[in-house]
Amino acid sequence: MSLFEKPAHVLHDMLQKKEISSVELTKDVLARIDAVEPQVGAYLTLTRDAALAQAEAADKKIAAGEDVAFLEGIPGAIKDNICTKGVKTTCASKILDNFVPPYDATVMTKVKAESPVLLGKTNLDEFAMGGSTENSAYHVTHNPWNTKCVPGGSSGGSAAAVASGTAIWALGTDTGGSIRQPASFCGVVGLKPTYGRVSRYGIVAYASSLDQVGPLARDVTDAANVLNVISGLDEMDSTSSPSPVPDFTKALREDVKGLKIGLPKEYFTDGMDPEVEKAVKDAIEQYRSMGAEIVEISLPHTKYAISTYYLIAPAEAATNLQRYDGVSYGARVDGADLVEMMTNTRTEKFGEEVKRRIMIGNYALSAGYYDAYYLKALKVRTLIQQDYTEAFQKVDVIMCPTAPTPAYEIGSMISDPLQMYLQDICTVPLNLAGLPGISLPCGRSSKGMPIGLQIIGKALDEETILRAAYTYEQSQNYHNEMAKLGGEQA
């Protein structure tokens, strides 16, 4: 087993015991990047030289006998909508083609305090709008399990990097499923924390009331460890939670006896791929056999979640993206006067999906329509939240598929945005409710594509979903399997 195939916690132990050096590990991952990145296309920016320098620095610290932080010396990747001081942050948009942030996002400050090796910035759907990474203005990222397929999105680059061994761990963001769905498509673990658990300062905003940062990882243990690093109250983010942050690794124990698992009937709907349904139901049976109690529940407002999301998110996005006007940073397309310059810049430099959502959002907010659309959506959002509150009186966690299908072929859905939006049915309601969710592999389709199980928890109760996920993971072998790429496919 090559180093790049190992999870971060194993590599951390090896570094600590000085069995390997960070430089050795980093070179192994860089070699993997050379070998498979041309087929995968997970990255937008690679920072090889800086990565090697960071590896050397980490080795020096470790040699000096200093305490080794969890991420210390371990190569990871950052989604390109997270501001990284001095490293280009494009959001996969031409409008930020030349944007180098003068500051670090709070999650980057926290990550950097661990002295990790940062390999670069990963691809995404432009401004995190999309579920396939096909909306990147730069290139399409390919699913490592079948390069004809999408990796999911919008954190498709981060998921594909972790799945293909071109990063050991990665950060993504999740507004309507953008961590969990690509994790599901790429067969890795993805965790969206409770809204407010992780600071959003420095995350290029898509929909402010829904965005969260979280880890994409090889296994549940790595996800818990990365969550430990990035969580906590941040005075720069007024929406971050003052709740104390537990040590999430303490939740990593095999114990689901008596755990009450809710199965929402609304999530097992028509249009769900039968192989996905079977894999998830098998996983539920596995839980039952391990001592969990399965309870059928109802989340009656689920059917309104997609329309609610596609009013709230575009409305917030429309205002959030107003700042890209060619005036003081980012791309500028000249015009005869100010208005023409702004119009030209936004018309030429935003992609189709971004423009579509800006238009939906502005329509929903415009005078005379606000009450009928945006305000109503906010009210329905409250109803969806109440559904969960009631359900969680009866159960400890809720389980369902992460996505209704496995990864589909590149280009097969891009011309039908509405169909694409419906793919978010299992992930979007959590964002509306602000709840934590984790996706972990629970099967393979007949074509060999990964299938993800989603576990939803109560607000600020990431520990229970981590425990449930860990227990299941240990009963299976998915986390030890890595995608075979190109020539490797036997």
Partner: protein
């Protein structure tokens, strides 16, 4: 037909917090361009606002000082429009749940006391400043943006359309200025743009209770411009109606140099601000306890102080009104009175010579070359008959450029009043001897003739003789 004007003001008042409303940048005026900036106020991708608690405190105090109700649940909203001085292309403001509502202030006009109601007071961020290569944005090849002012906290104080003359509008704005100064939330320096107003004006036939179509004049930054703009607009609208036309609802700009208003944009081109709740800031929840704490911290307000001056010092309503029109003047007055000076004399000197000199040299009362202590000491000299009121004018003039204590100036310049009869007597005798005609007239019953003799004595003593004593001695001698 006679028309009545209906006037409402939206006053923007810059708060004197040390830092901006949503970030830690300094708020100071006059710094080099783009030096008081950070990622947050520059609206860079990824940044989030955090509320400056001081701004909420100042807003609540402003509300309490203007008899507003404080909303215990208030929130920020995004007011969306594209302009290069607004880096996010939205202004973080308050829409449907402002921090203060339903207040009022009383004003004094030449036609008596009047109450002006306040609709609301809300918090918002200021925009940056455009520096054009030409004189306006239209005739400029390029424009620079200075973001130093971006994010400086503002209160927007919105009145009901309760005013009907330019004078009322001016006095109302003066009152708001005084209150904001008293409660120490703003420097209110109009020349620095700390206080500026958008004015809505409409006219209607006298006696009508319908509102006419209004126009709005933006960014009026002096009391004179305010009155000029309103008067011009009332005249213009009257002409339009008398010519059988209709007033167009529009935003107009006031040109202070020419004293006229010009059309900027009509209602058809008005922005749809697409307001939405600011998702990055939690609602502002204010407890009764906090409100009461802020209330207890409020200083004595202009109306209360004015009543006290009338009651305790016997000042006239008019004088008390002028003395309390700014906190600085009232504080100066209190300091003069604290020296033991007679309160009425103190008021007269402040409203008279002091104000005249300050106005002539455009000096703020807080920087007066004659401070309150020295003015008080000078008034004490008058009260002790050391100098006469007339000599005091000379002393005051000298004090304006001479930092010495008034006693010393009076002594050095030999201005001490002569109250010794033996010192005055020779001059009195000389005057009688030299003016037989006046003496004769006086004795013949023409009492006025005495004035000429007093004048002679005063002249001979270089004004230093106590005039009452001179008078008395002459009367004695001419019996």
């Amino acid at each position: 037909m006679n028309y009545e004007a209906v006037i409402g003001l939206e006053i923007h008042c810059e708060l004197k917090t040390k830092t901006k409303i949503f970030c830690g940048c300094a708020t100071g005026f006059g710094a080099d361009q783009n030096t008081h900036v950070c990622p947050v106020c520059l609206g860079l991708p990824g940044v989030l606002p955090t509320i400056n608690k001081r701004v909420v405190e100042f807003a609540i105090k402003a509300g309490l000082a203007t008899n507003c109700e404080i909303n215990k649940y208030s929130k920020f909203d995004r007011k969306n429009y594209y302009y290069p001085d607004l880096p996010k292309n939205w202004q973080t403001s308050q829409y449907d749940l402002p921090i203060c509502e339903h207040g009022w202030v009383d004003i004094d006009t030449s036609e008596g006391k009047k109450r002006v109601r306040l609709t609301r007071i809300h918090m918002e961020e200021d925009a940056g400043k455009l520096v054009h290569s030409g004189t306006t944005i239209k005739d400029s090849i390029s424009s620079d943006v200075d973001y130093n002012r971006t994010g400086v906290p503002l209160l927007e104080i919105v009145s009901e359309p309760d005013m009907h003359t330019a004078e009322e509008a001016r006095v109302y704005m003066e009152k708001i200025k005084a209150i904001m100064e008293y409660i120490d939330v703003s420097n209110c320096r109009m020349e620095e743009g700390n206080l500026r107003a958008d004015v809505n004006v409409s006219i209607r036939p006298e006696g009508s209770d319908q509102l006419g179509t209004r126009t709005e004049m933006k960014n009026i930054n002096s009391f004179k411009s305010l009155e000029d703009a309103i008067n011009y607009e009332i005249e213009r609208q009257t002409e339009v109606l008398e010519d059988g036309g209709h007033v167009v609802q529009e935003t107009r700009t006031f040109d202070p140099a020419r004293g006229i208003t010009l059309s900027m944009r009509s209602k058809e081109n008005a922005h749809d601000y697409r307001y939405m709740p600011e998702p990055d800031l939690p609602p502002i929840i204010t407890s009764d306890e906090t409100i009461e704490k802020y209330r207890s911290e409020l200083p004595e307000l202009p109306d209360a102080r004015r009543a006290r001056y009338e009651k305790d010092y016997g000042l006239s309503d008019y004088d008390a009104g002028i003395i309390t029109s700014t906190r600085a003047m009232a504080e100066y007055y209190d300091a003069v009175v604290a020296t033991g000076a007679d309160p009425k004399l103190a008021a007269n000197w402040i409203m008279g010579d002091l104000s005249k000199n300050l106005n002539e040299e455009a000096i703020d009362i807080t920087k007066s070359p004659v401070d309150a202590k020295r003015l008080g000491d000078m008034i004490l000299l008058i009260m002790k008959d050391t100098i006469s009121g007339k000599i005091a004018k000379k002393v005051f003039k000298e004090m304006w450029t001479n930092p010495e204590a008034p006693e010393k100036i009076v002594k050095d310049k030999g201005l001490v009043q002569i109250t010794d009869t033996s010192a005055i007597e020779p001059a009195v005798d000389a005057a009688i001897a030299a003016n037989p005609k006046a003496v004769e007239e006086y004795k013949g019953g023409k009492k006025k003739a005495l004035g000429a003799l007093v004048g002679q004595v005063m002249k001979a003593t270089k004004g230093k003789a106590n005039p009452q004593m001179v008078n008395k001695m002459l009367v004695e001698k001419l019996k």
